[in-house]
Symmetry: C2
Subunit: 137 residues, 2 copies
DNA sequence: TATTGTTATACTCTATAACTATA
DNA sequence: TATAGTTATAGAGTATAACAATA
């Protein structure tokens, strides 16, 4: 049978990851969003972080997030709001339109990714989920 | 125990994929390479494709690859060579320096990714590899 | 003084459209 | 005519350095 060595496992993980990213990019592009904007959308679905916190979530410099949010504001996806506790800070909040868009995107992404596990049985899909869960913090 | 539903499995797959991409980006950045340049390097390790073929591998427009290869040439990573069979075509060839770099990067990436499966037993790692293999074409 | 966010600047990545040289 | 590659152009994404406002 297929007996993957340790490096082979990592190779496959990288291959699958690139495939996933390509599919996510395609889903985002269908709504004229970049992968980064898609990530921001996902993060902001259940958070209203300050700019610096959002930068941390995304692993980007604050100055990069300024431009990202500038463009998102221009498209009506987010609002900048003053922070109550800190006069310097700015909170980022998703608009209702963006919440709807995020919902649609979630469904579309689920559909796009589904074929990936097409050849796995439900039990195997389950085992995959468990193993992946053990790889996350 | 952890019984992931179908959407949960996909969520974890996306999470792990983002983690993998972040680690790959970090490995590339340590050598002042972008993720795209890293991909190109990996592809060119065992191929000498024409520009159009490389564009296909990368899923990019030909014009994008022109710039990518321009920058790689400037850094001494690749050479452009005339194609024997087609006077219009250009073959892209990795330099010896780039081959060495690719080797180093491979080892560094293996080290960076290893912690991901730290909590899996060898048998589990194996099963993960098999499942991932079934998700690839 | 330190932190938050922005601006200015520069580079990479990417696509579209127009062009050239060859087929 | 069609294809391979480049150029010109435009916009997104990203980081570094310098800055203003607030803590």
């Amino acid at each position: 049978m297929t007996e993957p060595g340790p490096d082979e496992v990592m190779d496959r993980l990288v291959q699958v990851s690139f495939t996933v990213m390509a599919l996510l990019s395609r889903a985002a592009a269908a709504h004229d969003l970049s992968l980064t904007q898609l990530r921001a959308l996902a993060i902001l679905r259940d958070r209203t972080p300050k700019m610096a916190e959002l930068a941390d979530y995304l692993g980007l410099d604050r100055s990069s997030v300024t431009g990202l949010i500038d463009r998102a504001v221009k498209r009506g996806l987010v609002r900048r709001e003053a922070s109550d506790d800190d006069g310097r800070a700015v909170r980022v909040d998703l608009t209702a339109q963006a919440h709807r868009l995020a919902g649609e995107l979630g469904a579309e992404i689920a559909e796009l990714l589904a074929p990936l596990t097409r050849d796995l049985t439900p039990a195997e899909r389950n085992r995959l989920g468990v193993l992946l869960g053990r790889m996350l913090p």
